[in-house]
Amino acid sequence: MTEGGCLDYLTIQSVVDNEEVDQAAVEHLAKCSACKEQEKEIRSIVIYANQLACEEKLPAEFYKRLSDDLTYKPFPALLFALLMFATAISSAYIIEPGYFYWWLTVGMTSTIGLFMDAFFELLYFGFNTEPVWIILLLAALVLVEVIALSGIKRLEGVVK
């Protein structure tokens, strides 16, 4: 309450908002015209602002959409990255064992950073990509590898 016994504006606002206030405040408001005037003013803006309330319901299919999103499991990324890695290595071995041994000894030490980076990129990629693209990419990788290694063989005269 203010010094003159009248209510402060926050108390009057609390009354308008149906919040808990002292019984004395309620009693004062009931008989003080100055406070009542202020109450009327606050109430008018409250009633106006209450137009912001809405009645709309979420569409019926909302819950289904949400649970679909929650149960969506991305293609197992780790498996995908391992698969790519294993395919690259095993196809290298099948096409040309010599290069595979070279890579395991000299090549791997010099390019290990590159391979680790590639591995994590693939892992990230696996989380965000549809399986069909992953399989296509895998096939493309093997194809590139076959072409590249066959090219090297031809260059070095392994294939006549």
Binding site: D17, I45, Y48, A49, Q51, L52, A53, F62, Y63, L66
Partner: protein
């Protein structure tokens, strides 16, 4: 999970609807709110009410949306379903004054708008608003009062219908 959506989905949706003025975006925000909530449910104290927590997530998403889409005019805001709108003339008057109101709310500084939204869109009480916004009771009361005053001044300057 279904219970949580059934109990609080509409409140979250209403808040998003008033912030964005667009049903599709409001549904997206509601969806994202629940996705975030379910991901963070382990860190949430299950003994506490879920509504303030959900509204806090939703409010932040809405504010991010507004920050990135400041220029949406009120004319592009979709008409929102309200009760008792059978009389077309009354519907027109209501829609006009509602648009005035939305224009005025859009002009409010963030700190007042968030309190006004929680009070008038969701009808939260003071202590719930405190919980959603992490503010002291006195600050909530003050911001609500200041926000309403600014709203009233803005409406009067716009030549709005308020008396």
């Amino acid at each position: 999970m279904k219970n949580m959506v059934e109990a609080h989905g509409d409140s979250v949706y209403h808040l998003a609807l008033r912030y964005t003025g667009n049903r599709n975006i409001a549904q997206d925000i509601t969806q994202e709110t629940f996705l975030k909530a379910f991901k963070g449910i382990k860190s949430f104290d299950q003994n506490r009410p879920a509504r303030p927590w959900l509204l806090k997530i939703a409010g932040n998403l809405c504010k991010n949306y507004l920050r990135d889409n400041r220029e949406i005019p009120v004319e592009h805001i979709e008409t929102i379903e309200k009760p008792d709108q059978s009389d077309p003339e009354q519907l027109y008057i209501n829609q006009e004054s509602e648009n005035e109101l939305i224009r005025a709310v859009k002009k409010l500084p963030d700190k007042y708008r968030e309190v006004i939204m929680l009070k008038h869109v969701i009808d939260l009480n003071y202590s719930e608003i405190c919980e959603v916004l992490g503010l002291e009771l006195s600050l909530v009361k003050n911001r609500l009062y200041r926000g309403r005053l600014i709203l009233k001044d803005t409406l009067m300057n716009q030549g709005g219908i308020i008396e």
